[in-house]
């Protein structure tokens, strides 16, 4: 019997971790390949119980690119990736929290990490973009209210690493008791917090950056302060993860900043100093020019429409996948074309399409979508983004403060999409221009790698950058190479990501031994020894994969888990996830 459609919790976990890192995503896919494990019942009863009764700490310490620090140096963020079972248990736990909004919903002035609820499947949390857009609108309204005021941006230093486990535990218990969370879930949260402290880097005893629970905890530990800041500050207060914005008259903003800084300091957090580049002000009258920065574009084609049509096309015509992929490659596009066969043949999807087909608008729309229509959109957008980037980049290196803060995301917006749409020549030409901006280092190195096939610029950056390059390279069907002989840990992890994706990599010499267990997992598959690995994360993922002469990773990454799995474009998403914490 073909497995039935997966439960909401499985789809949320898959979508959420697809954006976080390919390793946990792969682990989840192997776990959820098993039919009984896809139900919400399994997540709520088995996955949670397995976390409660485990005796090891199955986290993988991945190196993620954080920023280029000038002078060629790279700063990494250590990200502790949970295994599949914990990811699923988290989905169940956070769903239980979502059922109790009075305890777990952040105040209205906080726009990040809002829990999904009901039948929402986009992730454990609602898509980050919605929060960003709402915050933009809220700041705009505040500027309207204070037309002569100022907007101040500042930032909490090292937000997640600053959250000690004791602080997190107290906040968790308080809200869990307020919600009357069933004992099992309350204890589960406590156990996870305790294990964060054990699993992290020695001497830290803070919650981990990586698991989704940490984002809820980040909101909980600031809950009391957020409540006060929302209501009682002289200025208006807006928070997105560790970014804080204050809007009001100059004196009100100054007083509010002093209060916020003091209260955060008392709680163990530190705001950037006034003279830090992360703290800057702009007049409200100038800020309002940015009010529509997050609005959806009108006129012409849009990225959203392209992606939506791509998915719709593959749902309706899964057998035409190869045709579309070849058409993309013929025109030097490198958009991933995933296999929806497994998702479409399930009864619920087929029934839905039959039902939709009765409606004129669907028939009209489905008749309009073709390989040709998708290519037309891609060509139009390719040119639009190329011109857009050049226009925005001209003279922008000298921008500072708010002007720079506005410009950089828009540059990234164009570059991220050009990595999938731009010709190799265009990427080759644009990469040096992108390199003039330290904030665009991530995209510039990916562009260089994609254009040239030499992945050495990307390897040192970490697994998120590697995935950002590996995905378009795989879609292009391109072989790549590295000249590196020695592979420190970050580089080796990155190389493993290329191999997990099935990107053929030519190396100066083939090593006699696969190296780390991750590299073995990526290259040669799973043997009995790997299934007994002393590293709990590797043991779990190896067992879930099972004994095989060849790894199954590339074929799994090519297929979708469910029709509601989002098409994640890593060169766009991976840095956003890093920026959002």
């Amino acid at each position: 019997m073909k497995p039935s459609r997966p439960g909401v919790l499985a789809v949320r976990a898959v979508n959420q971790y697809r954006r976080r890192d390919v390793l946990t995503y792969l682990s989840l896919r192997y776990y959820l390949h098993n039919s009984a494990a896809r139900s919400d019942t399994w997540a709520r009863q088995v996955a949670t119980d397995l976390v409660q009764t485990r005796t090891d700490l199955p986290y993988f310490r991945a190196h993620h690119f954080k920023e280029a620090n000038g002078g060629g140096g790279i700063e990494h963020r250590p990200v502790f990736l949970p295994g599949a079972n914990e990811a699923l248990a988290e989905a169940a736990l956070l769903d239980a929290c979502a059922e109790n909004p009075e305890a777990f919903r952040a105040p209205s002035c906080v726009f990040s990490y809002r829990l999904s609820h009901g039948r929402e499947r986009a992730g454990i949390f609602q898509h980050y973009f919605e929060g960003l857009r709402e915050r933009q609108n809220a700041i705009a309204e505040a500027c309207d209210a204070f037309p002569d005021g100022i907007v101040l941006y500042t930032d909490v230093k090292r937000f997640y690493p600053s959250i000690g486990t004791e602080l997190a535990r107290n906040a968790w218990i308080k809200q869990a008791d307020l919600a009357g969370l069933p004992g099992g879930y309350r204890d589960l949260g406590e156990k996870l917090i305790h294990e964060h402290g054990r699993a992290g880097d020695p001497g830290r005893n803070s919650i981990l950056t990586g698991p989704m629970l940490s984002h809820l905890l980040g909101n909980l530990v600031l809950r009391e302060l957020d409540d006060v800041f929302c209501e009682d500050l002289p200025a208006r207060y807006f928070r997105y993860v560790d970014d804080i914005v204050l809007v009001g008259d100059a004196q009100a903003v100054a007083d509010s900043l002093r209060m916020v800084r003091g209260r955060l300091d008392d709680a163990g957090f530190t705001l950037h100093d006034d003279d830090s580049p992360k703290t800057f002000r702009t007049p409200a009258s100038k800020w309002v020019e940015a009010r529509n920065d997050f609005r959806r574009s009108r006129g012409g084609y849009s990225w959203m429409t392209l992606v939506a049509d791509l998915k719709r096309f593959l749902l309706m015509y899964p057998g035409k996948r190869e045709e579309l992929q070849n058409a993309f490659r013929d025109e030097d596009f490198r958009i991933p074309v995933r296999d929806y066969t497994g998702a479409v043949h399930e009864a619920s999807t087929a029934e839905r399409i039959l039902d939709l087909a009765k409606r004129p608008w669907f028939r009209r729309k489905s008749q309009q979508i073709s390989v040709g229509s998708i290519l037309e959109q891609a060509r139009w957008l390719r040119e639009a983004y190329r011109r857009g980037f050049l226009r925005l980049a001209e003279g922008a290196e000298d921008l500072t403060g708010f002007d720079r803060k506005r410009r950089i995301p828009r540059l990234r917006f164009n570059l991220g999409r050009l990595i999938y749409l731009g010709t190799e020549d265009a990427l080759h030409n644009l990469a040096p221009q992108a390199e003039r901006f330290p904030e665009l280092h991530f995209h510039a190195q990916i562009m260089k790698a994609v254009a040239s096939g030499n992945i050495d610029p990307v390897l040192p950056l970490g697994t998120n950058a590697a995935q950002g390059a590996a995905q378009p390279l795989k879609a292009a069907g391109k072989k790549v190479y590295t000249k590196l002989l020695d592979l420190p840990e970050a580089e080796e992890q990155s190389l493993a990501v290329f191999l997990l994706n099935g990107v053929p990599v030519s190396r100066p010499q083939v090593p006699k031994h696969p190296g780390s267990e991750l590299m073995q997992f990526a290259t040669t598959g799973v043997d009995r020894d790997l299934m007994k690995s002393q590293l709990p994360f590797m043991r779990e993922i190896a067992c879930l994969h099972g004994l095989a002469d060849q790894p199954r990773h590339p074929e799994l990454l090519d297929t979708v888990f469910d029709e509601d799995e989002d098409l994640v474009l890593d060169a766009i998403e991976q840095l956003q996830q890093s920026v959002s914490g």
Partner: protein, 324 residues
Amino acid sequence: MSSGGDRLLSPGLIPPSLWDSASGVLSLPPTLAEIYERLIDVRGLRELADRRGTDESPVGGHTQERTDQHFAQAFDGSVARTQLALIDPKNDTPRASNAFFSCLAGNRVSLTDAPCGAGAAAFGFLATIAELRAQGVVPRQPLDIHLIGAELSEPAREYARTILDDLRPFLEEQAITVEGEFVPWDVSDALSNTDLITRMTLSAARNPKRLLVVANFSGFLARHGKLKEARPRLEELLRHASGRSSVAIWIEPNMKLATGKEGLLPKVWELVKGPWQRFVRGSAREETPAPIAISSAKFLLPLKSGETARVTLAVVALDLVRGE
């Protein structure tokens, strides 16, 4: 422990290698069936197996002869009974099925099978879980079992060791590691019971989840009038096994000795509602009659191609939790 409301293994997901839904026939886990057949032939027991009657199954005993008879004529039925409780294709025993899956989904588990005989119960559900993993039904989470097989008959313990050795490679392919010890146990002897409890306690120190399986005991306890004598030992066993994440599953054939008005399981349930209530709990203490789930099915005889026999099941799932 799961409530048994929603099934963790929906019957529609049971693979054909274990259950033919069209004909309603169980198949023993293929690997275990092969091992069993091989051992029957190695030990020259085929003829004894062919003499299997349709009357009551042999109970076993501590001599080689009685052990061989039980092994040749009843082992497969005992396996099928456990398998029926685990996969529950007819949705008759959801609570027990869920309890098994919750216990055996992964992590470190202390599993005591008492009395274990030749290991029909323990190997029945371990091999079934492994087959479900091999067929892509349940995930291959690392599962480390410390198995304590407690059994009076040394010949039976020896069969159990041999089967485990042969089964181990298949289990390990499915990420199930088993460290097994088969120890002598006489339920009517206080010292023997103490030794078993000591082993269980030591095992529990390393393995946070505990599963105690009591299977096919009615023949000995009820038929031979041993329940009264064994009751204090059973109480000790359950009491010492109780704690966090501890479950007991009691499996018997559905026959008068086990499920009749004066049968074993109703008597056990009276103890659960009464003097045992501080450390044992069923689905609802007040439930009357006792929450004994009943099922039956045909199963393919592993030694006679194409032939089936009927297996009946009565099962009670108990939470071994400390109460008021």
